[in-house]
Symmetry: C2
């Protein structure tokens, strides 16, 4: 009995990609260093990088014509480059919500019956096609998010593609660990029962993906590919200020689907504007069953409260650092300064609250006082922020004016150790820039809010043990996507794990040198834990996939 819609060309794609998918799955299990796509731009060739820049330039101030979805009108987007402060001038095809849902339902009736192997083969193909466009997407990301070019390339390119492959690998594992068919027999008193059993994975329904302005690709691809892998069409609703990067990905998926005999509307781009948002209309629609989202806690909580939805949310958190003891304070300060400065602190994993015992900390060179630690951190920030090459490469630009205002408000309410300042970008004179503030909050409530942007708050605590307790409390109350502990004491390390893991805090000990707490790498790290108020999901564990589909058991009794 075959109720699936099979196709020889799609099957050939699966055969082509099966071994690399299995390799990815093995890496996911092993969790040592591995990647599907190298992160070094040079691996992709000078020519490809140059082509990307050309493609980007010729897309500016023109309609985005690469999508294969029905559209009623063209929507001029709110995208403005944080570097040039010029609108990108790109318009995108827009469709009514009701029509988009109609097309998605039509697509669902096809896509759900394509065997998962063929689906995964097609999706692997789309990722490989996407890899030819990393350079254009890097430009698009840079000029929508404000990321520096290298981060834009890596985060929206190879790192995102790796996370997509990871999602497919886990989906493959979960979809393949129940057989599609088995003949069940059992000896009974007088004869034998023979039952053919079919196990059919079916998606929970349609997916809505709500993008974010700071990481319009990296934060999207895991959920997008997880939903598609289990047979759920996706309505991709990007942030109105960061549409272009993900529009490229959607267009590649659409043309791949179309080329292989399937409706391109298995994924649709649903753009909106800041003035006329449509996210709530989409999210509340009963046909939408699965929602992926990155953004504010308030909107995340609203999504979580909608009845009958399966949500994968990344919300705000208050990331903490505790310095108990270190080998070398300068190395630690340098590492933390980099983490706080990277993309001007506009990362959900950037450190914010640095807890330092009032009694000072032990180092290889003796005790350092609280003030000395603060001074070391301030100096490291200053060194980076005033470095003419490092500043633009690391800090990039601010995505929007709100970040500037937020940090200025913080400066007014805290005791400032280092004032935030604009720096002059060597290439883009108009760039919206700001170097990190270092401040000691005068009011405890300031330490319980996320001040998304370039900032470090230094906070004295009675002692290191009390510091652990504060981290625990903040994580339980506000959530935490990253947490750094510096200690040379094995007992303290153990104590920290026992306490903080109970609040579902992901912990990084003694990060220094060339590794940073902001980074979570595919095939090895989860992104957060999904177990504290900063989010209910983490890329990519089994839960990230299995919540999206159901097993339908079909039993065919041949002999009873």
């Amino acid at each position: 009995m075959n109720f699936y819609e099979t196709d020889a060309r799609r099957l050939a794609l699966w055969v082509q990609y099966e071994s690399s998918l299995r390799e990815a799955l093995e890496a996911w299990h092993r969790r040592t260093y591995w990647c599907a796509f190298p992160e070094e731009p040079k691996a992709y060739g000078e020519e490809v990088l140059a082509q990307g820049e050309t493609a980007f330039k010729s897309q500016l101030n023109r309609p985005f014509e690469r999508l294969r979805q029905p559209a009623r009108r063209w929507l001029l987007s709110d995208e403005v480059s944080p570097y040039t402060r010029e609108p990108l001038g790109i318009s995108y095809p827009q469709v009514d919500v009701a029509e988009a849902l109609y097309h998605a339902q039509e697509a669902l009736s096809r896509w759900r019956w394509v065997p998962y192997t063929e689906r995964i083969g097609l999706l692997m193909e789309s990722i490989h096609r996407f890899s030819k466009h990393f350079s254009e997407v890097a430009q698009a990301t840079m000029h929508t998010t404000g990321q520096a070019w290298m981060m834009a390339f890596q985060a929206s390119g190879p790192h995102a593609a790796d996370r997509a492959v990871e999602a497919l690998a886990v989906a493959y594992e979960e979809l393949s660990h129940i057989p599609p068919y088995v003949r069940w027999t059992r000896e009974l008193g007088k004869g034998q029962a023979v039952i053919d059993k079919y196990f059919i994975p079916q998606p929970e329904g349609l997916s809505l993906h709500i993008g974010v302005s700071t990481f319009p690709v990296w934060n999207v691809l895991p959920g997008l590919y997880a939903s598609l892998a289990v047979g759920s069409p996706v309505l991709m609703k990007p942030h109105p200020r960061a549409i272009y990067p993900i529009a490229v990905v959607v267009s590649i998926l659409q043309s791949t689907f179309e080329e292989y005999g399937l409706p391109p509307t298995i994924v649709q781009l649903i753009p909106d504007t800041v003035a006329e948002p449509i996210t709530k209309t989409l999210a509340e629609h009963p046909l939408i069953r699965i929602i992926d989202y990155t953004g504010s806690t308030e909107f995340g909580n609203y999504l979580e409260s909608l009845p009958g939805k399966i949500t994968f949310l990344e919300k705000a958190g208050v990331n903490g650092v505790l310095i108990e003891s270190v080998e070398d304070m300068e190395a630690v300060a340098k590492n933390l300064a980099f983490s706080a400065s990277l993309y001007s602190g506009q990362m959900c994993t950037a450190p914010q609250n640095i807890y330092i015992p009032r009694e000072g900390i032990r180092t290889a060179q003796g005790i350092l006082s609280y003030e000395e630690v603060v001074a070391a951190l301030t100096k490291a920030i200053e060194d980076l922020a005033s470095h003419p090459k490092a500043a633009p490469a690391v800090l990039g630009a601010l995505q929007n004016e709100g970040v500037v205002q937020r940090i200025e408000r913080l400066a007014q309410m805290a005791s400032v150790r280092r004032a935030p300042q604009a720096y002059t970008h060597p290439q883009y004179a108009a760039a919206r820039t700001l170097t990190p503030i270092v401040a000691e909050p005068s009011d405890e409530s300031l330490t319980r809010t996320e001040h998304f942007g370039p900032r470090l708050l230094t906070i004295p605590v009675e002692n290191a043990q009390r510091g652990l307790e504060v981290l625990y409390e903040i994580a339980r109350e506000k959530g935490m996507l990253s947490c750094a502990i510096y200690t040379t004491d094995a007992d303290f390390k153990q104590k920290a794990i026992r306490l903080l893991a109970e609040a579902a805090i992901p912990i990084s000990f003694n990060y220094r040198g060339q590794v940073f707490i902001n980074q979570s790498v595919a095939f090895s790290d989860f992104h957060g834990t999904g177990g504290n108020p900063a989010g209910n999901a983490s890329f990519t564990d089994a839960a990230f996939v299995v919540k999206r589909f159901r097993w339908i058991g079909v039993r065919d009794c041949l002999q009873g």
Copy 2:
């Protein structure tokens, strides 16, 4: 670095049970016939069976003193035997909700840090100890639920134990597929980064398990063992009319925990009474994060609406049967009559609505009219209900008076083909009994409600295709835990799968002989799909386990 609480004796248990757990896991993947515990009572020995009866008799009218949990007072239960109509007269230790939660939190702080292998070893040991008590639990089940002895033995004994082993096997798979520790290294420009990574599974929090009066053990063990396996202590709130069977299981778990150096309060029995229910107080408490429940749709929907809870719900449904064509109508009628009569239809998987084309059905002996099909069904029910040995063995007794009233109401509102009647139980003259009604509903709304109890509704439909559509609509609107289709037409079969799977209906084709649609067997069948309004969970897929815990990533940078 070891932050777990390990113990050599517990580890020895794991070593003892590891191979049988792996065997169970292989069976779960293979999904051919397999069981951990044989279902034939004789496999357990005459003596053990007799001991069980003795234990049951000596427990009646006495306090249940086997629990190892703090208690303030003894609570006389509402349990009344559906066979003797006498109260069981058993009292159970009762504790305040606040105290129970306090003890559960204390237990959580230990249990979450016991390595999952040791946890699973201990839990396997508890199941094996439980198997020595199948006979007592069979008596306890019979005299609380009204099940006939054989069903009480199998459902509350080997079948439940198999489902518990299955939950442990899936938990083991999901907990072991991420390594507990790995050394991650990466060559960087000038040196090498070395990071030790630890992946720590942590439960979402405390579990509440809300039992049901008809299957007080079978419906509980999968969720109970899944929660315990991932490190979540469980507050076991049984149905006030069916405490005794699960109290035995809880007492065995408690003594096993205690014997192996752990708090017995890792699982606590929280009894209440019909007059003073405490379920809502428990369910709404913020410390309760995971809720397993079997029961009414109304209460299930209430639980689902509680913010911040992870729920595993089995609610009511309206199970449908469609007869399109058959080889042998008599064999089909006999099989359906048995399914409808088994435990007097008090199974969530019992058939209710039988759709028959007005134009009649094809059989090997020619066309049978609608009326002839109804007559065959009615005769099969009559034959079973009037059989002096079969009736008590199959029908058993009604759990409560509500079932009688419900079927009487139905009789008043429908066109009755066969009137429900009490039958005389040969052993228990006072037994609350009722043979099935066969009726044709005069009002369509009657077909959209579950009439939990001994009933079959015969419903004419325009044709078989329309029958499929009605099944689809009812499943979407009201939910369905089982669905039988009779057809000898391969095309119709395929069409049925394509349509019904989209409504997440589990389908059974052409059940006859010694296999019945009511039954779902561990290691092969899921229980429902969890994808329609009859429930959001199905024993035991990956989702049933992974929603209960989170991965906490700990990274220890040795060289940066």
